[in-house]
């Protein structure tokens, strides 16, 4: 399927798996539940960025931390939800968030391994079955930003700064 582009509507029936972060201990396992993004994001401004893998060098060193650091700046620009997806199960995503000091739902760590949003509506990494590195912004169900990294090793158009600049 073609990747979403600016002007498209956020598809119906998009569900991720989500193990909410309820404490800071990465050895206490999260409990997965279904997260109905189509429903939750219908009336919100949402920044979604996709990474090939939790805990992997690029994602951990360059992609995730700026989003965490700039959470308040996103909120100032009216963003209701910041979320990340990767091709890891929801336990690994939960742990990745905890290890990075994220609390509660400040930043949602969602698993894309069941419904393959990145494959269906985004871009793949070109490495096995992994999600690509990209970012999208949805405003009340409409796509207002959708950019894929020219190379999954870089963080430019999908990085926090690039997205903030467009908001």
């Amino acid at each position: 399927m073609a990747p979403l582009k600016v002007g498209d509507s956020f598809p119906d029936g998009v569900k991720f798996e989500w193990a909410p972060i309820t404490d800071g201990d990465a050895t206490a396992c999260g409990i997965p539940q279904e997260y109905n993004a189509s429903k939750e994001w219908k009336d919100k401004k949402v920044v979604l960025f996709s990474v090939p893998g939790a805990f992997t060098p690029g994602c951990q060193a360059h992609h995730l931390p700026p989003y965490i650091e700039k959470l308040s700046e996103f909120k100032k620009k009216g963003v209701d939800v910041v979320a990340t997806i990767a091709s890891n199960d929801s336990w690994v995503m939960n742990a990745w968030g905890k290890v990075n000091g994220v609390k509660g739902d400040d930043l949602l760590f969602l698993s894309d391994t069941k419904t393959f949003f990145s494959k269906e509506h985004g871009w793949p990494a070109g490495m096995g079955d992994r999600n690509g590195r990209w970012a999208m912004v949805f405003d009340h169900g409409k796509v207002i930003y959708a950019e894929n990294e020219p190379s999954p090793k870089d963080v430019s158009v999908s990085g926090a700064e690039a997205v903030l600049a467009k908001l």
Binding site: A26, T27, A28, C29, I31, P32, G53, A54, F55, T56, P57, Q60, S87, N88, D89, W91, V92, N94, A95, W96, V99, S111, T113, K114
Partner: protein
């Protein structure tokens, strides 16, 4: 013991890959050699030949369905880390169908200083797990095939004892006190 066992992974010469079969692989049996598969430690580039590591002496391979998941994190692996008989078990490896980065992070969360000596290895493409016929269809929960929960007691490169959870993910026979307790009695 050898006569009763099918010959291990050797295929007719025409087959390009030694470890994969067209017919179903034999479920791990006592006497089987540790599969000669490279696993990853810490990063995908860091390959470890687990069969070489366990070539001689005592060892233990603990398989888990998923890093960071319940039972695996909360009781299965901590049970081994905290067991006083761990030092008598030889070289202990935990293997899971996750990538090496996830295994490294998981190891760090369970054993931050590495003091237990347990090594966490990744089997991201299931080759090791399938060679032992210890995978199961975890698509509903994990999005793909995963390793059953098991503990294999290894001696001089071969399986001496196999404790495989009959329901794939339960935590009974592969628990530390069962496995290490049996070791102590031998």
């Amino acid at each position: 013991m050898f006569a009763a066992r099918r010959l291990p992974r050797a295929l007719p010469l025409a087959a390009p890959r030694r470890l994969f079969h067209a017919s179903s692989p034999a479920f791990v049996q006592i006497g089987d050699k540790v599969p000669d598969v490279e696993l990853h430690e810490g990063s995908p580039g860091n390959k470890v030949k687990i069969a070489d590591q366990l070539k001689s002496g005592k060892g233990l391979i603990i398989g888990v369905p998923a890093a960071f998941s319940p039972a695996c994190s909360e009781s299965h692996i901590p049970g081994y880390i905290n067991a006083k008989e761990l030092k008598d078990a030889g070289r202990v490896f935990v293997v899971s169908v996750n990538d090496a980065f996830v295994m490294k992070a998981w190891a760090k969360s369970l054993d931050p200083t590495g003091s237990s000596g347990i090594r966490f290895l990744a089997d991201p493409d299931l080759r090791f797990t399938k060679a032992l016929d210890l995978s199961f269809d975890g698509a509903a929960i994990f999005g793909g095939d995963r390793s059953k929960r098991y503990a294999l007691v290894i001696e001089d490169g071969a399986v001496k004892d196999a404790h495989v959870e009959a329901d794939n993910t339960g935590l009974k026979v592969s628990k530390a006190d069962n496995v290490l307790g049996k070791l102590a009695k031998q």
